[in-house]
Symmetry: C2
Subunit: 182 residues, 2 copies
């Protein structure tokens, strides 16, 4: 659970990061920046700020904002009844993001799993993305990512996004952020 | 036909416009900016500069650069054997772009068709896009667009791009740019 103040503060930080990356948002988009704590209530460690530009039955495009060392927990996008599962390309716009995917584990990875992550980080093939660099992830491939010390802004180009069908390695994770009155 | 110098000059102008919009490209992407004259040899009037980030069987993402008053000629993306035809979202990043689509004609449109365009501009419902604004075009809908006096940078999020299947209103248009030695 996050408080309204935590959500509002994260929105403001994300808006500043996007502006710093030269990305212009409409006022309604700024007000609707999604703040996801993945149900773990440790937003600064495990979380993500998201702007959804478009999400039709075929195409989705988003901006993702990660605060310094903030982590998106490990998950995959499984095949669905009517599609092969989400395919996504991450393109770094500012900062640095370390993406971990299935494959040969990197011997000295740049990231450690967040302490509050419950140890649910099983893939360790590291792909470092700096501005102008990108990586495409096939459907059903496990992945997680963490920003470097300065945070990161990452564009995501993908097939339809159906967040509620994502499969997280950490069974505690919930994709819906609960906001309390605190 | 364009000369090598014209193509190189257009690439440099496009790179400057992208940098001005805060968009970072990898060196290989800068060197590969596509310069399209649509076979009409009037690049400054009818043309487009394109960076393709990704184009898989399902998803495509590009940046489009338009020079001041440069026009992308009218066309549509028809249904294909294995898909419903290309669906695309245009999002303005810098400058202004005027998008014309099927629908109620706008009484005082902001653009005139380019003189070298052969009169092949038949849809006049105007959608003005400034930074942070976007519009989604369904498959098979006729459209064309022109930048304002300062040019424009536009992100395109779409299904697979199969340029050679596009249907242009002007039968003279060819999607492949021929570069001569001149």
């Amino acid at each position: 659970m996050l408080t309204r103040d935590e959500v509002e503060g994260a929105r403001e930080r994300a808006a500043a990061a996007l502006a710093g990356a030269g990305i212009v948002l409409a006022p309604a988009e700024l007000a609707a920046i999604e703040v996801a704590d993945f149900g773990l209530s440790h937003l600064d460690e495990i979380g993500l700020q998201v702007v959804v530009y478009v999400n039709t039955e075929r195409v989705c495009a988003k901006e993702l904002v990660l605060f310094p060392r903030q982590t998106c927990p490990e998950h995959r996008h499984p095949p669905l009844e009517r599609s092969a599962g989400k395919e996504e390309t991450f393109r770094c716009r500012s900062g640095v993001v370390y993406l971990y995917v299935e494959g040969e584990p990197t011997s000295s990875p740049a990231c450690e799993p967040p302490l509050s992550g419950g140890g649910a980080f099983t893939v360790w093939h590291e792909v470092e993305l700096r501005p102008g660099e990108q990586h495409t992830i096939a459907p059903n491939v496990l992945h997680w990512f963490q920003a470097g010390d300065e945070g990161a802004v990452v564009s995501e180009f993908s097939t339809t996004s159906v967040d509620e069908s994502d499969v997280f390695t950490d069974a505690r994770v919930g994709r819906t952020t609960v906001v309390g009155d605190g």
